[in-house]
C-alpha cells in the first residue's frame, strides 16, 4: 500500500512536470514509466523505493523529456523567441551552446537594428545614413546628433531599401544558423540525458 502510494506520488509529480506537451504525449510517457516500474519490481524483486531511485527524481526525468522537446520544437521554428529559448537551453550544456546563444542574440540585434534604422531614414533623414569625411568612413546608423561637419552622407534615400535588405538577410541568416546548430546538436548528442 505504501509502495503503491510512493509510485502514485512519483507518477503524479512526473505528470505535473511535463508541461508544454500534449495530453497524449504526457499520458503515454507516464504510462510507459508506470509499466517500467511494475516490470522492474516484478523482475528484480526490488522495492518501489529502489526502482524509483534508479529512475532518478521525477522532476529531473521530466526535465530531460522537456529539454528534448524544446530543442526539437525550436529547430523547426522560425520564431526568434523559440529559437533563442532553444539556444539558451543548449547553452546550459556546453561552450558551443553558449557560442550559438550569444551569436544568435548578436545576429538578431544587428539585423533588427539595421531594419529599424532603415525605417527611420524617412523620419530622421538628417540623422540617418552612412557618413564619409573625404574618403574615410566616419559612421553609419541613426545618430543624435549626426557626425559633425565636414562630412557627407553617401546613400541618401537608398539607405532605406539597402538597410531593409541587409537587415532582413542578417535576420534570415541568424535564423538559419541557429536552426542548423540546434538540429545538429540534438541529432548527434545525447547531451541532455
Amino acid at each position: 500500500m505504501i509502495a503503491e502510494n510512493t509510485v502514485d506520488v512519483y507518477l503524479a509529480e512526473l505528470r505535473a512536470q511535463l508541461g508544454g506537451m500534449t495530453l497524449n504525449e504526457r499520458e503515454e510517457i507516464v504510462f510507459e514509466i508506470a509499466a517500467h516500474i511494475r516490470d522492474a519490481m516484478e523482475q528484480s524483486g526490488a522495492s518501489a523505493g529502489t526502482i524509483l531511485a534508479r529512475l532518478g527524481p521525477a522532476d529531473e526525468l521530466a526535465k530531460q523529456y522537456r529539454d528534448g522537446l524544446l530543442i526539437r520544437q525550436a529547430s523547426r521554428s522560425v520564431s526568434p523567441v523559440a529559437l533563442l529559448r532553444g539556444a539558451l537551453r543548449l547553452a546550459t550544456t556546453g561552450v558551443s551552446g553558449m557560442v550559438v546563444f550569444f551569436l544568435g542574440t548578436f545576429g538578431y540585434l544587428m539585423g533588427g537594428g539595421m531594419v529599424l534604422s532603415g525605417l527611420l531614414k524617412p523620419i530622421f533623414p538628417a540623422n540617418t545614413g552612412v557618413w564619409f569625411r573625404e574618403d574615410h568612413f566616419v559612421s553609419s546608423g541613426t545618430l543624435f546628433p549626426p557626425p559633425p561637419a565636414p562630412v557627407h552622407e553617401i546613400l541618401g534615400i537608398w539607405y532605406l531599401p539597402l538597410m531593409l535588405v541587409l537587415g532582413s538577410l542578417t535576420l534570415l541568416f541568424t535564423t538559419f544558423a541557429i536552426r542548423t546548430s540546434l538540429r545538429i546538436s540534438h541529432q548527434w548528442k545525447a547531451k541532455l540525458s
Binding site: H36, A40, G56, Q64, A190, K191
Partner: protein
Amino acid sequence: MAKVRILTSSAESSERWEAQLRKGALEMAALASLWQGRLYGLEIIRALESRSSLALAEGTIYPILNRLKAEGMLASEWVEAEAGHPRKYYSLTEPGRLRLGQMAQAWASFSLGLTNLLQPVLAAQEACQ
C-alpha cells in the same frame, strides 16, 4: 593536504569525463540494442547493462527513446504482455538503421585512431602493474 585535494579533484573530473562519455555513446547504444529486433524499455536497459559496460540511471534511457522516436529513428507500439499490462516496444525504422550504420562506422574509425594513440599509455600502465 593540498596533494590530497588535487588527487580528489582529479578523480572527480575523471569520473565526470567518464559520465559524459557514457552519455555521449548512449544514443548510439540504444539504437544498437534494437538491431536484432524490437525490445521494450527495461529490456533495452538490461541489454545495455549486460552487453556493454553502460550502467546508467534507468530514467536516462526513456527521454532518449522518446527523442529518437520523434526524429523518426524508432517506431513504437504498445503490446499486451503476459505480465498483465501493456509494454511499449521499440524497433528501428529504416532511417534509424541508416543512422546507426553511419554512427557505427564513425565510432569504429574514431576508437581505432584513439586506441593507437593510447597504446603507449596503456603499455606503460601494464608495465607498472
